[in-house]
Symmetry: C2
Subunit: 159 residues, 2 copies
């Protein structure tokens, strides 16, 4: 159970975009974002597509186009970013093996209530999601040292 590397990239990009938005609102090309963190440009573009499809970012085509946050950073949580990249479905999926093999002929009445294992797994995942939903991009921006954010603004201003 390994989370896609794209989640880390997407989260950092969202934070970076909010740093830059505080100065100006011009969109930033995906290629520039990629070189800022030394990432493969084309593949990062794919992750940005996912973010855009989820309504987290919006992409501006044409010259001087690029990507920018589609809504305030305070309303974008880490849960949103993870769901956008990894997909909405749960990590654990119950395939109801309890109804196969030795129980294949039993009446479905015995399995009316959900499987206890699936229930516990789902409960744990909900706790995970709840925790992720409590951290927004704005929170992460607020926790960033001023020096680092200023450095990023400086980097994107020139050339």
């Amino acid at each position: 159970m390994r989370m896609s590397e794209g989640v880390e990239w997407a989260a950092h990009v969202c934070v970076l975009l909010d740093w830059l938005n505080q100065g100006e609102l011009t969109p930033v090309p995906a290629g520039r974002l990629a070189e800022a963190y030394d990432l493969p440009a084309a593949y990062l573009g794919k992750q940005l597509q996912a973010l855009t499809r989820a309504g987290i970012t919006e992409s501006v085509p044409g010259r001087y186009g690029g990507v920018r946050l589609a809504r305030p950073a305070a309303s974008v949580t880490l849960m949103d970013v993870v769901a956008a990249i990894e997909g909405p479905e749960d990590a654990f999926s119950c395939t109801e093996i309890r109804q196969q093999g030795m129980n294949s002929g039993n009446p479905p009445r015995d399995f009316a209530q959900p499987c206890g294992i699936a229930h516990a797994m789902r409960s744990a995942e909900l706790a995970w999601r709840r925790e992720l939903a409590e951290t927004s991009i704005a929170d992460l921006v607020a926790a960033t040292p001023t020096r680092v954010a200023d450095g990023a603004r400086h980097y994107f201003q020139r050339a």
Copy 2:
């Protein structure tokens, strides 16, 4: 981020083994367990190896050998089972991309404290693990309808 199917199998097997242990303590062959839930026998065996390596089950070789729980069901949590199959490492791994590209030359002093994204991710995973650790195999056994457990015992007694 999809969890291995083996986790579901392993959890169900642990519950089943505890159902059977309440009657007698003889080990159960992996092949029998596989047919009980209609699973590929050889691959289930691989998962059982992982459980044994983790100290959750112990395997008895030779004729009339098989697999049985190595410790009381109350001391085996879902967290243990997940860790045994999926491995102990976290789903999210921080690769410190913030120190690359535009920040590759900056002093490491700026990045002394851990990345906020990694911190939030880790916090969420801990909540997930904590929740999983609160459900033991014994809890799952206690929540099982008596009718189903009896059926399983009956299935394994004959032949």
